[in-house]
């Protein structure tokens, strides 16, 4: 096979994952726009609520809230770049949480006080949890890459299946993690929430995976044009399989973080997360048709949505309908960004043709 060493710039110019530092500086317009939106949101809410919004405590609580959904959004983003989608992220996360909580409860029940036993149990549980995520991703990958089932359908099926397995295990009840994962979900290191650290590590890791590794290059190629990538010697199936496994692993990590924060594994937790994660990806400039988009956009979109949610919550503090206005604002933002992208693309086209 020909040596397809990454020089992606030759193939795509606008979103080319370059091998240099300036790949971190956003050049494409949708990311700049997102950055502006984020800054404006922060400024507006800081002006409206100077006493409560731009405070360290508020920033901290926002960081806690956005990390889980951020990790899930990155999982979806990977599958979207490949030209697919993963609807099973939340089901995978919940199944992982159920597995982890079950192992912890079995090996180190609440009566266990020995720190060593507890630590072993937690470590083993996390390893098993990641294994669950791996298997879930593997199933998706096999269905998509080898059985040729459209990703949206395959993962719709596995979403129901994984939730079903979780329901059978838990019989619909919650399983508790005996507070042994609290450090992961609620802990802080130098006042920085642990979930945020996990989220940022994942974001940076995936960013470099996409921009520097051969896998990342192949992923963009498969997403842009599967036919062309196959003819240029890329093993499409293998790339897709790895993408869905990675998505499963990231979902599992999100599940562990969620379990750490809530201390309870439920199969029906966060059902709105799936559509929210897709929304974040689109806001962040990931093309649902595949081949285009960067992790930094997803991170910015997560931050922007969190600023919007928390800001609106504070502005409507006395109004019990704040949550509903937030949902309204999410939908409006998504449609607005879609329209902005549409008109700017059309304007660009007109400039080029004239």
């Amino acid at each position: 096979m020909a040596n397809v060493q990454a020089s992606p710039g030759k193939f795509k110019t606008s979103d080319a994952p370059r091998l240099s530092l300036d790949s971190l500086i956003p050049r494409d317009t949708s990311i700049i726009r997102l950055l502006v939106i984020t800054i404006v949101l922060f400024a507006v809410f800081s002006l409206l609520k100077p006493a409560t919004f731009p405070t360290p405590i508020n920033l901290q609580s926002m960081a806690f809230q956005m990390s889980e959904i951020g990790i899930l959004a990155i999982a979806v983003a990977l599958t979207m770049i490949s030209g697919g989608i993963d609807l099973s992220i939340n089901a995978t996360a919940n199944l992982t949480a159920v597995a982890v909580a079950s192992v912890i409860t079995a090996l180190a029940p609440a009566t266990t006080t020995d720190a060593g036993t507890a630590a072993t149990a937690v470590t083993l549980a996390i390893v098993i949890g990641l294994g669950v995520g791996f298997v879930c991703g593997l199933v998706n990958g096999l269905l998509v890459a080898y059985a040729n089932i459209p990703p949206i359908l395959a993962t719709l099926g596995t979403m129901t299946l994984f939730t079903g397995i979780g329901t059978v295990i838990t019989e619909g009840a919650a399983i508790f993690a005996q507070d042994r994962l609290a450090e992961v979900g609620n802990g802080k290191i130098f006042e920085i929430p642990v979930p945020l650290i996990i989220f940022l590590l994942i974001a940076v890791g995936v960013h470099f995976l996409l921009s520097k590794s051969r896998f990342g290059f192949e992923l963009y190629m498969v997403g842009t044009n599967p036919q062309a990538s196959r003819f240029s010697g890329i093993n499409n199936r293998n790339v897709l399989l790895r993408t869905y496994i990675l998505s499963g692993l990231l979902s599992a990590l999100a599940g562990i973080v969620i379990l750490g924060r809530t201390n309870a594994a439920r199969v029906d937790f966060g059902e709105s997360y799936v559509l929210l994660a897709i929304m974040i990806c689109v806001l962040g400039g990931i093309d649902p048709a595949g081949g285009f988009g960067r992790i930094i956009g997803v991170v910015l979109a997560v931050v922007a949505l969190q600023l919007l949610s928390t800001g609106l919550n504070q502005v409507f503090f006395d109004n019990p309908g704040a949550n509903f206005f937030r949902q309204f604002a999410w939908g409006a933002t998504l449609l607005l960004v879609l329209l902005l992208n549409y008109f700017s693309a059309r304007a660009r086209q007109r400039r080029i043709t004239s």
């Binding site: 459209p150 719709l156 079903g164």
Partner: protein
């Protein structure tokens, strides 16, 4: 002669066999609980609302799109209609359906503008409008559950509009008139898809958009029809839901979107567009309803419902995918090239 091979290749037929087999198994294992008229009425009643939604989802899927906003449209239609009826004091069931249908149509056209004129991806647009509509409803219109019997008489009374009532073990069991609405709408959709130019256009767009455009189909107009009509169906479905549930709960319905799409897909509609039938969709709805309501009669605990449905979806979409894969392999082998 009937071509058996072609018959077995049709997913509608396979799902029909599965349905019959499942009924037979339940009937053999637990005849007393399963084989009676009240149970049949219960299953049919559970099919009505999801069936109406599924007809809409079917049209969208055939046209190559996907719509997740219909539950939000349905609940907006139900809640706003109820508010209007209460405010104006015109307590009439036909008015409720007219209002529901109109509100649904209007909201569906919002989708159509984004999808038809701006050519934005259907899943993303409807994801946006799902949040927009539901958020707006809960924030601006209200988030309080309205019990129909407390504010209306005629509208609330529609709950008892039954066609047939039979005595059951406890009290009596009835078949609600809204099953006729489902059947009527199913006939309408079947007719549109099968016998009108519009139906041809819907299949054509889903099969190959480019080719449809060259063949002279007006894609924007067709999409306006599809999303407007799907909104209308959702609105009617919302009103029926309210009548059957005896209340307008603004938190209801949303969250069922993927289940409905799963039922349609199980019924043989292709998510890639261009394929799908009304019969298959109704069978898919019946199968999913049967599993969620009667699996327990087999001694299978209710916790297994989702597992079974998930496995069925994967098998249901896996078989045609593998079939087409095999066809493709055979095709390339025959043509010799590559």
């Amino acid at each position: 002669m009937l071509n058996l091979r072609a018959l077995f290749a049709r997913q509608e037929f396979i799902i029909f066999i599965v349905l019959v087999a499942l009924c037979a198994i339940i009937a053999i294992i637990n005849p007393t609980a399963f084989l009676n008229v009240p149970n049949a009425f219960r299953i049919l009643r559970a099919c009505i609302v999801i069936g109406i939604f599924a007809l809409g989802a079917l049209m969208v899927l055939i046209s190559g799109g996907i719509d997740v906003s219909f539950p939000a449209i349905a609940i907006c239609a139900l809640y706003l209609s109820t508010l209007i009826i209460v405010d104006t004091g015109i307590d009439s069931v036909p008015l409720a359906f007219a209002l529901g249908g109109l509100i649904g149509l209007a909201l569906g056209l919002v989708n159509a503008v984004f999808i038809g004129i701006f050519k934005l991806p259907t899943l993303i647009v409807t994801l946006g409008t799902l949040n927009l509509f539901r958020g707006a409803l809960l924030f601006f219109a209200g988030s309080v559950r309205i019990r129909l019997s407390e504010v209306t008489t005629n509208f609330a009374d529609a709950t008892r509009w039954n066609i047939i009532t039979v005595p059951a073990a406890r009290g009596e069991a009835s078949l609600h008139f809204s099953i006729l609405i489902l059947l009527g709408l199913a006939l309408l959709v079947w007719f549109i898809l099968r016998y009108t130019m519009l139906g041809r256009a819907i299949y054509a767009i889903g099969g190959d958009r480019e080719a449809a455009e060259r063949a002279g189909f007006n894609i924007v107009r067709t999409q306006f029809f599809i999303y407007g009509f799907v909104g209308f169906l959702a609105g009617i479905g919302g009103i029926v839901f309210g009548i059957l549930a005896r209340e307008a709960d603004p938190f209801a319905i949303v969250g069922t979107e993927l289940d409905v799409i799963a039922a349609v897909v199980l019924g043989g509609a292709s998510i890639l567009g261009g394929r799908g039938t009304v019969i298959g969709t109704l069978l898919g709805v019946l199968l999913i309803t049967l599993i969620s309501s009667n699996l327990v009669l087999l001694g299978i605990p209710t916790e297994w419902q989702r597992f079974v449905i998930g496995a069925l979806i994967i098998i249901g979409v896996g078989i045609p995918a593998l079939q087409s894969l095999r066809r493709k392999v055979r095709h390339t082998q025959l043509s010799g090239a590559v």
